[in-house]
């Protein structure tokens, strides 16, 4: 099966599975791309990862886009996820729209543990909250930073200009970690077999692994 046929078949599979929840599906710049309903944001990625044929087991990136003034305020932001299938060597891109006063998207940490920090980065830069995330706080900016820098209505020079007199350091109190033993994903969860191929493999350690 050639590369283009493979990608077309992937889009057909996704459309057959999720039906009208898929808003659009096409090959964009040699990469299969689907725009999805926000409801199935968690579901479709779990399906792509657990699918016996496709096995999108590598989470590449999650990022956001601000379409201020180009789209309605209720769907102002777009959350974009890139996945990679190591066995098929193809990639897929999903786009989810969100917006309003408190933009929210389902979190992917139960599917891909590697998405924890990148989701926090998207929250930091765009103010998009990820539901069910155990620690939805800022990642790169100081904890008491005002605003979300990559929003189009954020001034480039920042909101603290003018209120930053000489000799004064802005307050950067470190918060106590909110993560507890119950909410934090255990190291063993990262090693649990997910795809059918992984399930056939012997466990890495007897006790399931405690890194």
């Amino acid at each position: 099966m050639s590369n283009v046929e493979l990608k077309t078949k992937l889009l057909e599979d996704i459309k057959a599975q999720f039906g009208d929840k898929i808003l659009s599906a096409k090959i964009n710049y040699d990469m299969p791309q689907v725009e999805i309903d926000p409801e199935i944001h968690g579901e479709i990625h779990k399906w792509l990862k657990d699918h016996p044929e496709w096995q999108f087991n590598h989470f590449t990136d999650i990022t956001g886009v601000d379409y201020l003034g180009k789209r309605d305020d209720s769907e102002r932001f777009e959350v974009i996820v890139h996945l990679h299938s190591l066995s098929k060597n193809i990639r897929v891109r999903t786009k989810t729209r969100t917006g309003g006063e408190n933009p929210e998207v389902q979190s992917l940490i139960n599917v891909y543990i590697g998405s924890t920090w990148t989701e926090r980065e998207v929250y930091d830069m765009y103010g998009i909250k990820f539901t069910d995330h155990p620690r939805m706080t800022r990642l790169l900016n100081p904890d008491d930073f005002e605003g979300h820098p990559l929003r189009k209505d954020f001034p480039v020079k920042g909101l603290h200009r003018g209120s930053f007199p000489k000799g004064v350091v802005i307050n950067n109190k470190r918060r106590e970690p909110q993560v507890t033993r119950q909410t934090r994903p255990k190291p063993a969860d990262q090693m649990l077999p997910r795809t059918p191929v992984e399930q056939q493999r012997a466990p890495l350690r007897e006790d399931g692994g405690d890194a």
Partner: protein
């Protein structure tokens, strides 16, 4: 340093003012602490290493602890998240202390005129010498240090003449 040669029983002696003698000793005794965050750090390493050899000018020993240093060289971009840390490091140094801001970013924010970058470390604490350049060459840093040496030489300390 004004020296005067006088006759002394059993030979000759040199006479000077104690403040100038102490200043002469202090200016070759600075223990610098490099605080390198960006590409200017590479130029500082070249200054430190054998080719330019900063030890020739009396700052032989780079100290990586603020408590054993009296000259801080801020080398590179300082983000607002790093600013409180840098401020605390400066406060840990014992008086008399000196600061060199090396490069455009440490001096004035440089090309990063954005929300996340401190627009010059002189918003946090006083700076003695600004070194221009992006990054400055090692010769520039050596010149800055000799300028600072002149400054140290002519600084009068309380209770030391």
């Amino acid at each position: 340093m004004g020296l005067e040669k006088v006759e002394w029983p059993g030979g000759e002696a040199l006479i000077t003012k104690s403040s100038e003698f102490i200043g002469w000793a202090r200016k070759y005794s600075a223990w610098p602490m490099p605080y390198a965050t960006a590409c200017c750090g590479i130029e500082y390493m070249a200054t430190m290493a054998s080719h330019y050899d900063q030890g020739r000018f009396g700052w032989e020993r780079p100290s990586f602890s603020p408590r054993q240093a009296d000259l801080m060289i801020v080398i590179g971009t300082i983000c607002i998240k790093m600013a409180p840390v840098l401020k605390r490091i400066y406060e840990q140094m014992a008086d008399p202390r000196y600061v060199i801001a090396m490069g455009a970013c440490a001096s004035c924010g440089g090309m990063f005129d954005t929300y996340s970058v401190v627009q010059g470390v002189d918003t946090l604490f006083p700076v003695d010498i600004y070194v221009p350049g992006c990054p400055p060459r090692p010769e520039t840093l050596i010149l800055a240090y000799t300028k600072l040496q002149e400054q140290i030489q002519h600084t009068r300390l309380e209770g030391l003449g």
